[in-house]
Symmetry: C2
Subunit: 339 residues, 2 copies
């Protein structure tokens, strides 16, 4: 009685068969359903508050309107949230829901995670891998449609989206160049993290194009955290010819660079301009003065990945696409012309 109404209940209320009811509600079956009947069925469904049981539908159609989201460390990075949110919003707009699995980065767990998703007959998978640039798609994926988020394959056989690190780096360096800076230092990490190489290379190219020698302008430290950012900046700023501006590998390191500048009595931005990467909401706007930083477009990448997956569900023959998502500069108050 108080149970959820089934299609059979709707059909009975409208005085038709379940087949007719199904076709009327889903607009299938071509011209077989008269418009009067269609309206009658719709009215009955609305009246009863009918909601199709997607489990039953999924069994028949093999489509569940669910997308698997496999993350290799879903929550430990603050970025992941924005990726999930972007993916979620795009999915929701198309009537899909996200089924999440975190693999804690264990390769062995990934296969198990994909199997768990496939058991539930997800329509496709978005694989989000933080801190990696190039990966192999696990064989467990089989023929399940898949899009990579923040990663790509070596051969480009799978659609993928990654941030345009080079573009973002060029953009923040252009902020400095625009203000008149030539001697631009770079503090980065020795770790083999995603994007280190791209940002470093692009910085080198920038200096090279200006004819500025990079000697004494690069510091590499152990890890990408605040303490090492501090130490790296001290090193960079105590050299013989110190830079007038610093490009930091990321915001956390920039936080340490701010402290080093304060200790050395350097005012930001008048004595030292600083730009950075990531635009983390807890750091970049909270520093004083606000930090100019290239934003990692995680929300947009999440959206893109799901939309691309939906496109591939519609047309499995479509060619895979490798997308570079622009990194817009969040302009704040850490850049000024050199003295």
């Amino acid at each position: 009685m108080t149970q959820q109404p089934r299609l059979a209940d709707v059909a009975k209320a409208a005085g038709v068969s379940t087949a007719t009811a199904s076709m009327a509600l889903n607009d299938t079956g071509g011209t077989r359903i008269g418009s009067a009947t269609r309206e009658r069925v719709r009215a009955a469904a609305a009246e009863l508050g009918y909601r199709p049981n997607t489990v039953a539908r999924g069994l028949r159609t093999r489509r569940t309107q669910m997308i698997g989201f496999v993350g290799d460390d879903v929550a430990t990075t603050p970025f992941a949230g924005q990726m999930i949110r972007g993916a979620h919003d795009a999915a929701r707009e198309a009537g899909f829901l996200l089924l999440m699995v975190d693999t804690s980065g264990e390769a062995a767990e990934t296969g198990e995670a994909i199997a768990a998703l496939q058991e539930r007959q997800i329509d496709g998978v978005v694989m989000a891998t933080m801190y990696h640039q190039v990966i192999e798609v696990p064989s467990a994926i089989g023929s399940t449609p898949c899009v990579l988020l923040d990663a790509r394959t070596a051969d480009g056989s799978v659609s993928s989206v990654v941030p345009d690190e080079r573009g973002g780096t060029r953009a923040v360096l252009a902020e400095l160049a625009g203000a008149g800076h030539v001697r631009i230092g770079h503090v980065t990490t020795r770790e083999d993290v995603r994007a280190r190489g791209l940002r470093l290379e692009t910085w080198r190219e920038h200096l090279g194009a200006n004819g500025t020698p990079a000697d004494g302008l690069l510091v590499e430290v152990e890890h990408t955290n605040t303490q090492f950012g501090y130490e790296g900046a001290l090193q960079l700023l105590s050299g013989p010819e110190r830079p007038t501006a610093i490009f930091c590998f990321n915001d956390r390191m920039a936080m340490g660079v701010y402290r080093a500048a304060a200790e050395l009595g350097l005012q930001i931005p008048t004595d030292l301009s600083i730009v950075s990467y990531d635009d983390q909401e807890l750091i970049a706007p909270a520093l004083h003065p606000g930090l100019t930083s290239a934003a990692l477009p995680h929300y947009d990448m999440g959206r893109w990945a799901v939309n691309e997956l939906l496109r591939r569900l519609e047309d499995p023959e479509a060619d895979p696409v490798q997308h570079l998502m622009p990194c817009p500069v969040a302009r704040r108050d850490s850049v000024a012309p050199p003295r």
Copy 2:
């Protein structure tokens, strides 16, 4: 051929009926299945790499091994990630997966989100609401088992878990008291955010128990961000009898307090001790010196919520439980005895 094997394939390979195969694999049907047969079926399943189709199973059993996670702003707060992760881990250990929906805080969307989850026959729902203390369970939930995460109902009719704000506040204040501080200031917000009142009241009680008058020790500012933390601290520290220690409403405000102290030439912790709340990983350990802060146990709360939900799925008659999750103090270097 290359399709996923079905139960019928396993049954055929083992030379039994699908009923027998089902019972053998699920250990159901009591003594009806001989141990030799059971092994034969298991071997066949392993051989074929059989994975049950949970959609088909769900249709029959009405259980999908999926839990709905409804968040009212899943990703905008950095805490949400830890909640999701805790919930995810607990679910995974029990063979469940999380189906996520974000409602962006819109009450109207919540009903729609719950309906979308129910269509997919989730076994239960965890409702995570950031920034709220007391909520009403949406009527759309019907008889679906539900646990509240970081929120509770007025009447206690639903199981719920929230952080022990009073306990956490007492603990950080005890850090200060233990170092010998008596005049402890508090910088908080005027916003009606979750926990403001609890932290403020507990601070008042602490002073009261010591017989310390609160005059001039409380500053309330517009918002809970770094800039207002800075302004609040300036106000507090420029009074006639300034406190020897400050308890900040949260880490973001503490970040501003650090800046104020630096500008006033006050060394932390020798001239001024600071404690705070939230223990955000991007802030508390990154400040210099490291900030002592009461941690919001989001991971543990996420775990607890799912485990409680699983308990209620096993025993729907079980009494609802209101749980207070302890907030452990992350001890760092921002506390020292007063001069």
